[in-house]
Symmetry: none
Subunit: 230 residues, 4 copies
Amino acid sequence: MGAVKSKRMPRAVREQQMLDAAVRTFGQRGYMAASMDEIAELAGVSKPLVYLYLNSKEDLFTACIRREARALTEAVRAGVRPGLAADRQLWDGLGAFFTHTGRNPDAWSVLHLQARTHGERFAAEAAAMREEIVAFVTELIVVAAREAHRDPDLAEGEVAGLAVALVGAAESLATWANATPGVTARQAAATLMNFAWAGLGNLMEGRPWSAPVMSDELSASGAVDVVHGA
Amino acid sequence: MGAVKSKRMPRAVREQQMLDAAVRTFGQRGYMAASMDEIAELAGVSKPLVYLYLNSKEDLFTACIRREARALTEAVRAGVRPGLAADRQLWDGLGAFFTHTGRNPDAWSVLHLQARTHGERFAAEAAAMREEIVAFVTELIVVAAREAHRDPDLAEGEVAGLAVALVGAAESLATWANATPGVTARQAAATLMNFAWAGLGNLMEGRPWSAPVMSDELSASGAVDVVHGA
Amino acid sequence: MGAVKSKRMPRAVREQQMLDAAVRTFGQRGYMAASMDEIAELAGVSKPLVYLYLNSKEDLFTACIRREARALTEAVRAGVRPGLAADRQLWDGLGAFFTHTGRNPDAWSVLHLQARTHGERFAAEAAAMREEIVAFVTELIVVAAREAHRDPDLAEGEVAGLAVALVGAAESLATWANATPGVTARQAAATLMNFAWAGLGNLMEGRPWSAPVMSDELSASGAVDVVHGA
Amino acid sequence: MGAVKSKRMPRAVREQQMLDAAVRTFGQRGYMAASMDEIAELAGVSKPLVYLYLNSKEDLFTACIRREARALTEAVRAGVRPGLAADRQLWDGLGAFFTHTGRNPDAWSVLHLQARTHGERFAAEAAAMREEIVAFVTELIVVAAREAHRDPDLAEGEVAGLAVALVGAAESLATWANATPGVTARQAAATLMNFAWAGLGNLMEGRPWSAPVMSDELSASGAVDVVHGA
DNA sequence: AATGAATGAGGCTTCATTCAT
DNA sequence: CATGAATGAAGCCTCATTCAT
């Protein structure tokens, strides 16, 4: 079972262990089906200690959402280098995104599914993160339009919709990749770049988007999978 | 209070009332937070009757998922005319999809959120519907490729990914449209067609996908909103 | 333990059984030490039924206070005949009071002790009853002054204090009588009438208040105890 | 926060701080609602230290009762000069009593309410003090009878009842005075002396008890309020 | 066809109390 | 002298579910 039971740890450490256990339990069982008993046991602690440090089931869940939202956004931010071209930034960001969601499937479940299905308070917490990502993508689209010498007669609402669509596609692919053995982060990112950048119309006619070399941390994952059309 | 309390109705009718109440309650409260008490009261029936007809909370939820999944897929199917070009079929299908989700937000919440967050059994039930839609889209993509005289050297997994991305984008837009006042089904469909068919790259360069006239039921909604680029 | 377990009773009856059990338990254990488990068992019912009918521990306690407060004030009211002289009314009222508290010691504990020691909400509930009794006594004092042809230059606050003192003395005697075997309601009433009406000063000088014949329901208790000085 | 946190104090001092905090907390929250956490924090000490010095919640509460009981009885004793007439002794004793309860409302709540509502053990502890006061009053009554040349054909039980009534009246007035702004210890004492010594009957006829000058510590309170009838 | 009455089981939360340092 | 870390036990409350009519 859970972590090795070593007594008397400083509070900060114990709190992280509890959050680890909680993310895992919430991710797998769902918020309501997860019991504080199970979480405490998985954390290798007694229930009262969980309450002493995290206050309540709601606060515990909120803490999980916050921690994982920050972790995800920072992973994406770390994967992107601001100076580069828009498509390159998107490619890098998607790579970081799929890598992170792939490595932390329970956290992804918490953020993408659980946080959105159990009350406004949690949904708002997760929506804040999503908005941050949508804003990042929106900015990329605007920049890309500028790069293409095409000042945005793309109406603002239009761009918002495009960003929502792109992010939704990414979320869908993340969940799909986690559930489908053999799909790598790189593949997911390539698929989405093709879809988003070239469009199905271009794809049909043999003009896909051509993928640049992946950023370091991703290529480290080892897979040298062929990107479609490359 | 729920429906007007009229005694002695045929079973089939009562069952639909119960499912109506259940979909509404599950959609708004969530599966676990919804209580059988509330559902029974909203349906204007006593609790034992709910159990007599629907057996258990799990079965009731399953019945909701099935009914709403069927309703959604049939709405989409009804919106599409098989003979037409692939993009036209997609456009019509998306129109029907967004129209239906917009008119039945609780059902959409049940299918897209609740069914996926409360255990494998329900998730599988909803996944079946999703697969049907993904299959429809996949077929469209293959057809489109064929139409473009470009026999699919699009690998099968590649097409699957594209379909998942497109469906995810649609789901994301549906939820976004439901939460954002002023966004019509037509707009959502147009945004997604631009995104999916033309690709951001083309959009940037001023070559959007051009929308055909909408199918009847949609134009009936009255809005004559301008589609980007049309 | 508890009442004979007979299933399926109408709600009103069950509620009274629950209140009986609750008054007994609260009176003997105290509000906080009383557990809902114990109350339910004593009532011969399962805990959920208690909650279904009485909502919460707080509401249950409030219901107890209200029922017993009403019972006590009505017992006193029923013992007094408005037309008679002030001292006679007080005598009758005290008789009814001590009889009731003697027969319902748990109820008396709930009203006099428990209700006042567990939060403003309950205290206010019990204070309402006490005020009613204090008002009754106050009125008697004013009437008595008028009877003695002595228009009240007794300041209003003065009378209030006297009433509070008299009621406090009665409460103290009630508790004392319940704890001291052999003290009857009649004796308690006589002691208090002597104390209150004659005053210690007069008593010392051999001029006690002379007790009239007791009202019916009290003499029914059988004891033919000698009233001091009679 | 409670007292200023200064480390390393002699045990006796720390204990008093803890008792101060406990009396305050028990008096305001009630015995059961008071948590050891709150008491420790208010005392500016860690919980284990409270246990080290006072053993348990029960022992802590007992210690509170004992300390405050002793403080109250000693205040009364200090207010009375044994040689004087009985009514004068009572007057002085009541003055000291109401002064003390007015200055220590939490202690009064602990003694009069909390100690009597949370189990025999505590009730007995408080009853001991009460008995001491009742005995004092009983003795006064006996002395008064003797002074009136009227050897007690007042039966012993009769006298006991009178003393209980008087003490109950005093307790009631103490609580009332604490809750009613503007009521001074002197007024409360005067009200009770009138009530007890003259009796309502005499009062009605314009023959109240006449108050002597107050003892020093009371007159220090400054108010030179007119005693009814003086 | 329909329901008022009833419950087993389980979850969240809090508390008095104790180690180990 | 003093405490941060930790827990067994127990209480309130709610829910899905059934029985007897």
